[in-house]
């Protein structure tokens, strides 16, 4: 602390040791300034921002050069969302002490971000606009504008308060209380906030009293309260009066409720259980039915198989049976034997019977005795047949009836393969009728089977001719 007169540093005395001026009052003024600064600092630390503003302004009224008080005042304004007054204080502080001043940092912090500064400016303008709307009685517009302000600067206490006032005016108490609570969280001792909050709380209290009062009255109407020794006994009123019709009504109600419980709770479960039982029975019967159906299908299949077998056997039996019911092949065999016994030289007749047997049945499928009889007859008539057929075939050959000669000569070759002439003539017949391949086959047999003969030489010649023709 320096002397206001000569600038000399002051001591503990009430006069300046440099110029002798009386500095007692000056010292008291400085002490008062510092006292209010300390008070403001304490209040700010417990968020009593309004109180802090009051103390700090008081401090600055005593000593405008109290830089700490001015800087703190700026900070408190900033915390309350009032950026322009904060800037104002910091700028003055900077002017009073250009060097080593923390206000310099605060100013730079705000000015460094141009968009933030613009936002702050817009916030203030919108608040002023909202206030203007309020004065013009456009309260809805004011509310909208204030909501915008608070979205940009949620710590703007004045905006919260104005919005709360508008809600109070609209009797939207809950919203008002919400806004005021936000104000309270920022600034604990703002008179306007506390007054509005008291008003809103009183409304809520009145409502709660009204509700609880109604309940209490109901309780007091329904009960009798009296003291028995040290105990307070609350006895319901009219408990004993219930009887007669009321009792019957209650019994009736009980019965109805009981029936309803049976109907809605017990009966459905019983019905469900019965249904399950029936379903299980149905399932069992269905399974048995399926098994029986499968058995019937198997039996039907067996029947159809057996029927087919019976039909096949019947067909076979029919083929074996003759007109009069005897087996036709046996009949023909007997006829062949009879013909052999009566006219053994008539080989052609016997052969007709044997051929008829061969047409009806496969000889290999007949019994051994039948086959032996058949073979014996064939062997007996074979040479005779060969002779007879050779005569017929030779006669046709010589008469140049080659086509007619072929079957007879074929028979000769069949029954007597050693007859070289028959084979040679057969080849010639085939050549003459134009069956070249047959003719060539026969000629080859002649060449192989009858060596060193004229027939062999001629057969070779004819074969060469036929092959050269191709």
């Amino acid at each position: 602390m320096n002397c206001y007169y000569c600038g000399c540093r002051l001591s503990e005395h009430d006069f300046c040791t440099g110029c002798g001026a009386d500095v007692s009052v000056y010292k008291k003024i400085m002490y008062l300034s510092n006292y209010h600064y300390n008070d403001g600092l304490e209040k700010a630390s417990v968020r009593d921002l309004t109180g802090a503003v009051r103390s700090l302004r008081q401090s600055l009224k005593f000593n405008k050069n109290n830089i700490e008080a001015r800087n703190l005042l700026g900070l408190v304004y900033f915390e309350m969302g009032e950026v322009a007054p904060a800037l104002s204080e910091w700028v003055i502080s900077k002017n009073l002490r250009p060097n080593k001043n923390i206000a310099d940092d605060y100013i730079n912090m705000i000015q460094a971000n141009a968009s933030r500064l613009e936002t702050i400016n817009q916030t203030n303008k919108k608040f002023n606009q909202a206030l203007s709307y309020c004065q013009q009685d456009s309260l809805d517009l004011a509310i909208i504008q204030l909501k915008k302000v608070l979205s940009l600067n949620p710590r703007f206490v004045k905006a919260h308060q104005l919005l709360a006032l508008l809600y109070i005016n609209d009797e939207e108490w809950e919203k008002a209380r919400k806004e005021l609570r936000k104000c309270y969280q920022i600034d604990r001792s703002n008179t306007i906030t506390l007054r509005y909050l008291k008003e809103v709380d009183s409304v809520f209290e009145a409502e709660e009293t009204q509700k609880s009062g109604g309940k209490k009255r109901n309780i007091s109407e329904e009960s009798v309260k009296y003291q028995s020794g040290n105990e307070t006994i609350i006895q319901p009123v009219g408990g004993k009066e219930k009887g007669g019709f009321a009792a019957l009504l209650q019994i009736g109600l009980g019965i109805i409720i009981g029936i309803a419980a049976v109907w809605f709770l017990i009966l459905p479960s019983r019905v469900q259980a019965e249904r399950t039982k029936v379903n299980e029975e149905l399932k069992k019967v269905s399974e048995q039915s399926d098994a029986k159906s499968a058995t019937i299908d198997d039996l039907n299949q067996q029947v159809s198989t057996l029927t087919t077998q019976v039909e096949t056997m019947q067909t076979q039996m029919d083929s074996y049976e003759g007109v009069d019911g005897t087996l036709s092949i046996m009949d023909k065999m007997i006829q062949a034997i009879q013909a052999y016994m009566t006219a053994p030289d008539d080989a052609v007749a016997i052969e007709e019977y044997l051929d008829a047997i061969e047409q009806e049945v496969q000889i290999e499928e007949t019994s051994e005795s039948f086959q032996a009889m058949y073979e014996q007859l064939r062997n007996e008539i074979g040479p005779k047949l060969a002779t007879q057929y050779y005569d017929i075939g030779y006669e046709d050959y010589m008469a140049q009836r080659f086509a007619e000669a072929i079957p007879s000569l074929e028979k000769v070759v069949q029954y007597n393969s050693e007859n070289g002439y028959a084979l040679y003539y057969l080849g010639n017949c085939y050549k003459e009728v134009g069956e070249i391949e047959k003719a060539k086959e026969i000629y080859r047999r002649v060449i192989a089977e009858i060596p060193n003969s004229e027939r062999q030489r001629k057969s070779q010649q004819f074969l060469d001719e036929l092959e050269s023709m191709e």
């Binding site: 206001y4 007169y5 001026a21 009052v25 000056y26 003024i29 400085m30 008062l32 300034s33 600055l60 009224k61 005593f62 000593n63 405008k64 050069n65 009032e82 950026v83 322009a84 007054p85 800037l87 104002s88 700028v91 003055i92 500064l117 702050i120 400016n121 203030n124 303008k125 608040f127 002023n128 206030l131 309020c134 004065q135 004045k158 308060q161 104005l162 006032l165 109070i168 005016n169 306007i192 007054r195 509005y196 008003e199």
Partner: protein, 48 residues
């Protein structure tokens, strides 16, 4: 009971950034110390 109209009158327009300079110039920075010095200076000629 809060009177809306009366309460509204207690709200004043917020200081805008453009107006800060003017506000600073117009601010009366006279403090108690200034008044004391002025009083002391005014009393000195009378004493002389």
């Amino acid at each position: 009971m809060i009177n809306f109209e009366e309460e509204l009158k207690k709200f004043h327009p917020s200081l805008e950034v453009e107006d800060v300079e003017e506000a600073i110039y117009n601010q009366d920075l006279t403090d108690m110390a200034d008044l004391l010095i002025k009083m002391v200076k005014e009393s000195e000629p009378e004493e002389e």
